[in-house]
């Protein structure tokens, strides 16, 4: 299963590297939204709840672009048939797609988070950087698990651009709350880490539940 997932992931990363269809669009979207917030709120800096909310809502909306494109090559070039004709465990497809989305989100955050800090964030993040990395990693894992599930569900539908956000965003509400609550203390003027452990536990639980759920139902999504 792992070697098949690695083969599918390698193929997806190679295609993304050559087409540059998903990650650049997600980066551009995030940066544009931060610029819009910068001017729209008419404030030089944000902190606390507002900063945390702006960061995570933007990341979730950027993720919609990645999720919509996640099965594009399979859909447009018959990749699903190729996989169904091979003796592969379909869980490997889920693992590969979730891993690809996780890596796409990480790549986007490498640009988007510094841009956010530069354009909008009042207090620096220096001291709380490891905590923020942990929240981003757990947040990405949850988005990747739910995103791969929703992408597979929408892959064969005609209105996928509509279905993806309508399904994805409500499912991500608990994750958004946990990520925003965990990040909020790190972005206050008097930055602290109170309640961080609690919210990281909530995020971990969310990730475990959705990874298991996705693995359980993924097989059925590819049935005709």
């Amino acid at each position: 299963m792992i070697s098949t997932a690695r083969a599918i992931l390698r193929k997806d990363l190679l295609i993304e590297w050559r087409t540059k269809e998903s990650v650049p669009a997600m980066v551009l979207f995030s940066v544009t939204v931060y610029v819009l917030f910068h001017f729209g709120l008419d404030r030089d800096s944000l902190d606390g709840e507002l900063a945390s909310g702006v960061l995570w809502v933007t990341m979730l909306l950027a993720a919609v672009i990645g999720v919509t494109r996640l099965f594009a090559a399979e859909r447009e070039q018959g990749g699903i048939d190729g996989l169904l004709l091979a003796p592969v465990d379909r869980t490997s497809l889920f693992v590969a797609k979730a891993a690809a989305l996780f890596l796409f989100l990480t790549a986007v955050e490498l640009v988007a988070v510094p841009t956010f800090a530069l354009l909008l964030l009042g207090p620096g993040l220096g001291g709380a950087f490891p905590e923020l990395l942990a929240i981003l990693a757990l947040g990405n894992l949850g988005i990747a698990a739910v995103g791969a599930l929703v992408a597979a569900l929408a892959a064969e539908t005609r209105a996928r651009e509509l279905i993806v956000p309508l399904l994805l965003l409500p499912l991500l509400v608990p994750l958004l709350i946990a990520c925003a609550q965990a990040t909020e203390p790190l972005m206050r003027q008097d930055a602290g880490t109170e309640d961080l452990g609690r919210w990281l536990s909530v995020l971990t639980l969310y990730d475990v539940v959705f990874v298991l759920l996705s693995v359980a139902v993924f097989d059925f999504l590819l049935e005709d």
Binding site: T4, K11, L84, A86
Partner: protein, 215 residues
């Protein structure tokens, strides 16, 4: 022994009947020609036999696997060459075949062997999007036989191929391959000449093979 046994097979798309009352038996190593006009249900039949579509009625046994329940058994035994080449445009021919080889557990050596067999060694590293339809069809044929399938499902396999390429692919997908084959073609005379039995389809239902099929 029968490689394919269909009894009153049915398949619908919503309310529309795509296949109904299709019964046929194909012995191992034989070739079945499936003939009919556009929209007759030929491609649907191939996709049901490949395990890509569920039958909605009747019974279907392919290589000993009862469909749809045992279609997982077919995965390593069926080679499917359809309208879509099932190749990624941004990857080269070699990368595509190596990817499919990993999925099927075939070796990189088998990939090189097939690239040579289909005359694609010189263009193997070109992205598929830069290749002509004929060259893509050669790669698609190589992909379909990568895992040495017992059953070949061929939908217009010679489309876009020049005479030299047709000859080149004969040992892989032609009668000379020795495999059980289901061949869909609009070249009625050619298909009948290289098949052991035939099945005519009209509006998804069995019909006598002849000019009436195309009216």
């Amino acid at each position: 022994m029968a490689a394919i046994e269909l009894e009153r097979l049915e398949r619908r798309y919503g309310e529309r009947v795509a296949l109904a009352g299709v019964s046929v038996r194909v012995e191992e190593g034989r070739t079945l020609a499936v003939l009919g006009g556009n929209g007759a249900g030929k491609t649907t039949l191939l996709r049901v036999l490949a395990g890509l579509l569920r039958p909605h009625g009747g019974s279907a046994s392919v290589l000993g696997a009862d469909l749809p329940g045992e279609r997982w058994k077919l995965a390593s035994q069926v080679g499917y060459l359809g309208h879509e080449p099932l190749l990624y445009r941004e990857l080269s021919g070699r990368e595509n075949l190596r990817y499919h080889a990993r999925l099927h557990g075939a070796t990189p050596g088998r990939v090189e062997e097939l690239l040579a067999a289909v005359g694609m060694e010189a263009r193997a590293d070109d992205p598929v999007r830069d290749l002509s339809k004929g060259l893509v069809q050669r790669l698609a044929a190589a992909r379909a036989v990568l895992h040495e399938p017992a059953l070949l499902l061929l939908d217009e396999p010679r489309a876009n191929l020049d005479p030299a390429a047709v000859e080149l692919l004969e040992p892989l997908i032609g009668r000379a391959s020795g495999r059980t084959r289901v061949l869909v073609s609009h070249d009625v005379e050619g298909a009948l000449a290289e098949s052991d039995l035939s099945l005519g389809l009209r509006d998804g239902r069995p019909a006598p093979v002849g000019a009436e099929l195309y009216r």
